[in-house]
Amino acid sequence: MKLGLGKRHTLPARDAHTLAGAYAMDAISEQDRVRFERHLAGCQECTQEIASLREATARLGAATAVPPPPGLKERVMAAAAVTRQQPPAAAEPDIPARAGAVARTGAWLRSLAWPGRLAVAAAAAAAVAVLAIAVVFGVSNGGIRQQLSQAQASSQQIATVLTAKDARMVTGPVVGGGTATIVMSHTQHALVFTAAGLHTLPDSHGYELWLIGPAGTRPVGMLPPGSHGMTGPVIASGLRQGDHLALTAEPAGGTTQPTEPMMLDVAL
């Protein structure tokens, strides 16, 4: 639906909706934004108009497309692998109602339009939190799990892998459900493992990671229990050329050799 340009509004700020163009282009001050969004919450037509204007600005933006710098994709993928996703909004009623259904739309637009510095801070905090709970696995000596005292070293190690010049990401489906994402760096002799949607095992069992290659089969360690469908990230060092990463479901204490079928086998 389009608004006539000179259409009158009986809304609190009568001239507010002339801000639609500036708002759709982020060309307004913080004060004006607040004022306009107050107006938006009660103006469904305006909400629709903003959506349509943003289709136009998206085209202006897309018209400037240039290939991203080399390596950016890998870095973005690696960062995503250790960034927790937001859950979907609850279906109903999730927004403090300002004007019923219209308020919901306005809220959606606000969430869309002005994530701002708060979101940056939240993203950074989330990334730190994810890293802070990361668990380090010892590799060479029987897969002894080192615990949270290592968290700091771990996040440093994870960052080292993710930002390594030769960092590469692979993903693979896990037999029985779920997807594993691995970022590896051969120059750092390490990899970061995360998985989503792994089947929950009974308490008597756990997922165990293995490195398998010319240097033999080495237990990497047990994965910590998943939380909200996400497992990891965990870091495994001791990566060598020709290794595969494997995943099995083993008795909870772990084993020194895989005793169960491979649920994941990724060449590294």
Partner: protein
């Protein structure tokens, strides 16, 4: 996590930019974002391929500095990853959703930097010729369409849009630069976008 700007010799996945405005491309992007919401890394890679050039393009256009633009592009894509579940295809196209995030973040970066170097900003290019903007367009078909639609605007409308959208100025800054009352600029911006929307055949 830090973004480094090192070159990567092993990178063979430079995307060939696709025309971003197409309805089927948009539908595909929407599907991929739906999968991303479920944590699908492969779908996220596809989103990067499809939307990455447009995101980097507009961020670079607004910010100008390649290193900062790369950082912001990474933030934008990560935001897509984090908030994929918030995307609602019933309320606009996937490309509009992504580009709104991208433009907002780019502007946010520019304005926070601006506080530190107010003078520099004020003397910064007040007149980016839109031909320069259009030069960067990747698909000749889309380029022609956007060029034609921008050309159909009045001079004041076109300048208002390019200064606001491509340079990241607020409407009162644009008004100052062009020596026109703010009320006029607000109106011109809205008129201009409505004309562009209709000219580009945007469906909502």
């Amino acid at each position: 996590m830090t973004a480094t700007s090192g070159q990567r010799p092993g990178d063979q996945t430079r995307p060939s930019p696709t025309a971003p405005g197409g309805a089927s491309a948009n539908a595909d992007l929407a599907v991929q974002i739906g999968l991303v919401a479920r944590g699908d890394a492969a779908a996220f890679a596809a989103v990067f391929e499809q939307a990455g050039p447009a995101v980097f393009g507009i961020v670079l256009r607004v910010i100008r500095d390649p290193a900062q633009s790369e950082e912001v592009t990474q933030e934008v894509l990560l935001e897509v990853w984090r908030n994929a579940s918030k995307f609602d295809a019933g309320r606009g196209s996937a490309m509009a959703w992504v580009m709104t995030l991208a433009h907002h973040r780019a502007v946010d970066r520019v304005r926070s930097v601006q506080k530190e170097s107010e003078r520099e900003r004020r003397t910064a290019s007040a007149d980016i010729p839109y031909d320069d903007v259009i030069e960067a367009v990747e698909s000749s078909l889309e380029r022609e369409r956007v060029r034609r639609c921008l050309a159909s605007l009045t001079d004041l409308q076109r300048e208002s849009v390019t200064l606001a959208y491509y340079s990241g100025y607020t409407y009162d800054q644009v008004a100052g630069l062009l020596g026109v009352p703010t009320g006029t600029i607000k109106t011109r911006m809205r008129d201009a976008l409505i004309r562009l929307r209709d000219c580009l055949g945007v469906a909502v």
